[in-house]
Homo-oligomer: 301 residues x 2
DNA sequence: AGTCAGCCTTCGCGGAATTCGAAGGCGGAA
DNA sequence: TTCCGCCTTCGAATTCCGCGAAGGCTGACT
């Protein structure tokens, strides 16, 4: 076990960045001699030379680069911890990690979470956006307490609760022929070029499967990584986009595009709240879930 | 910035795990008083109570749990660093991180890398297996120096070099009707149940696309996460498996299965070595790439 | 009740580690 | 040669850290 403290790591990082122990020392408010000694002790602890001493300063050795990566990692985590602790100092009593698919996030979840945060200011929320498949993985790995995903894949050993419903829609430029009528058939959308999301996305999987079912191949010219980018592409005539209705509405308004509902049964999707089946949830997580499913009943449409 | 050293973190971790400062102290070969004081100082540094003191011991508070996650993270990184440094102490001069798709790894790459390690024992190799899409992402994020992937997706801003070719094949139980003839047509494979890999996999994507092109839907009953698991499933009659020829050969022999080549042009794939286009590689990475492409010429078939 | 056992905290002491400024070595530049 | 910038080494002052002893608290056993 390599013994070191944050101070030393920071000093080492600065030495590598400034290529000078002198400058690193003064940045850390240390005498040069003390800094030099700390570097020496760090090297002894590691059992290797970490810095090449050159006439004009220092330069990390390969082993030094490994330590540098480590230092950056630790210091990064340290900063994040600091932010978390600041919340706890301010009176936070519990913490829940939530991973959500973009679809869920953009629709109800963002609003619901902010309502929750207002209702329970003493519970800290940590939210990350991920594709549904990764969320399932993250649950297994205990990287998150709660996942909000689009139903579809394997949910083995997960406990799920219905959260919201979702409908896919098509975004088209307002001067597009399809923009006139109301709801469209998927078949006519497939005749056009499409702008799609990342492969791993639930929306993408659903579209691909459905196209295959009708024996067609979607023509994909552009792939993007967010709904917003998708609308940009649609606006510039690179193709039509398929995305969740509620996610689309504000964007469509903002970009001056037209939204057409896909009025076919497969285009309805369920958003589910998932947790590990075995574990018992801590009080904060349980409270959040209760809050979310209650709003499903109250505010669901 | 929260000031702490590895010792304190380890002590805190043990205190949380054993629910007792006394036991944590003795595990760390410390007097109880010293341990208690360190915990107190840690709490002062964090500005919060981290451990609830109970009659029978201690219990982490929510803030304590955050620190606990941090401690586990840091200590984990520390261990990995230790392993790396052990190599450097043993005389290693440089280090290269390689992310490879399973297909590449199982075929030529594993052998080539071990040859390289023998030829250049002073260069440390760090190898991880990932799906091709994740590898591309990892290159952008600078999580790896070199990626070996199956050609297919976007390779924007990456420099690629041809590495090897690859052909898909079908694994069937030896008593299966198809096991008689030589190469099979994909169409006849699609009539069977399939055992497939994870969605994110390049093999899986290729199979799905090809099936779609011929207007069919592969029937998937089982999904697995490795070639070996796939062979197990095939052996037990859960379906046919599709995987890279060279990856299959040893497994097929080991399990007593039959391998049928897929003699169709789309079943050929290219494995490519990728790096970030902008960056210049350090000497070790460059040497590895030279080594790999040289062998491509010399030993390629 | 009284006693005991387990656990954590506080306190004062002595040894160890850290810091600091000064002095010194080492290359390159004027 | 003579600076100059950079790092290392050295001895003294200071600070930190661990140890054991003493004390408070709680629950269990007598």
């Amino acid at each position: 076990m390599v013994r070191h403290d944050v101070q030393t790591l920071l000093l080492f990082l600065r030495a590598c960045e400034t290529k000078s122990i002198t400058r690193a020392a003064s940045q850390s408010n240390l005498a040069l001699s003390a800094a030099s000694r700390r570097m020496k002790l760090l090297e002894e602890g590691c059992g290797t030379v970490l810095l090449h001493r050159l006439p004009y300063g220092v330069e990390p050795t390969p082993a030094g680069l490994a330590v540098l990566r480590y230092a950056r990692g630790v210091l990064g985590m340290n900063q994040q911890l600091d932010a978390e602790l600041a919340d706890y100092r301010a009176g936070v009593r519990g913490s829940v990690r939530v991973f959500a698919s973009s679809s869920a996030l953009v629709q109800r979840l963002a609003g619901d979470l902010s309502a929750f945060a207002r209702a329970f200011p003493s519970i800290r929320l940590e939210l990350q956006e991920r594709p549904s498949v990764e969320i399932v993985e993250a649950l297994y790995q205990k990287e998150t307490d709660i996942g909000v995903i689009v139903r579809g894949g394997d949910l083995w050993q997960l406990r799920t609760r219905m959260y919201a419903e979702d409908r896919l829609a098509v975004v088209v430029p307002s001067d597009h022929p399809l923009a006139q009528g109301g709801p469209v058939a998927f078949a006519s959308v497939l005749k056009e070029e499409l702008v799609t999301l990342d492969h791993a996305t639930a929306v993408h999987r659903l579209v691909i499967n459905q196209a295959r079912r009708s024996g067609q191949t979607p023509r994909v010219r552009v792939q993007v990584r967010s709904f917003e980018a998708m609308c940009q592409m649609v606006l510039h005539g690179l193709g039509l986009g398929i995305l969740p209705e509620l996610a689309a509405q504000p964007l469509v308004a903002a970009f001056g595009l037209t939204l057409l509902l896909l009025d076919e049964p497969w285009a309805r999707r369920e958003l589910a709240i998932c947790t590990r089946a075995g574990d018992e949830l801590d009080a904060s997580a349980q409270r959040l879930i209760d809050f979310l499913v209650t709003r499903t009943g109250a505010a669901g449409r």
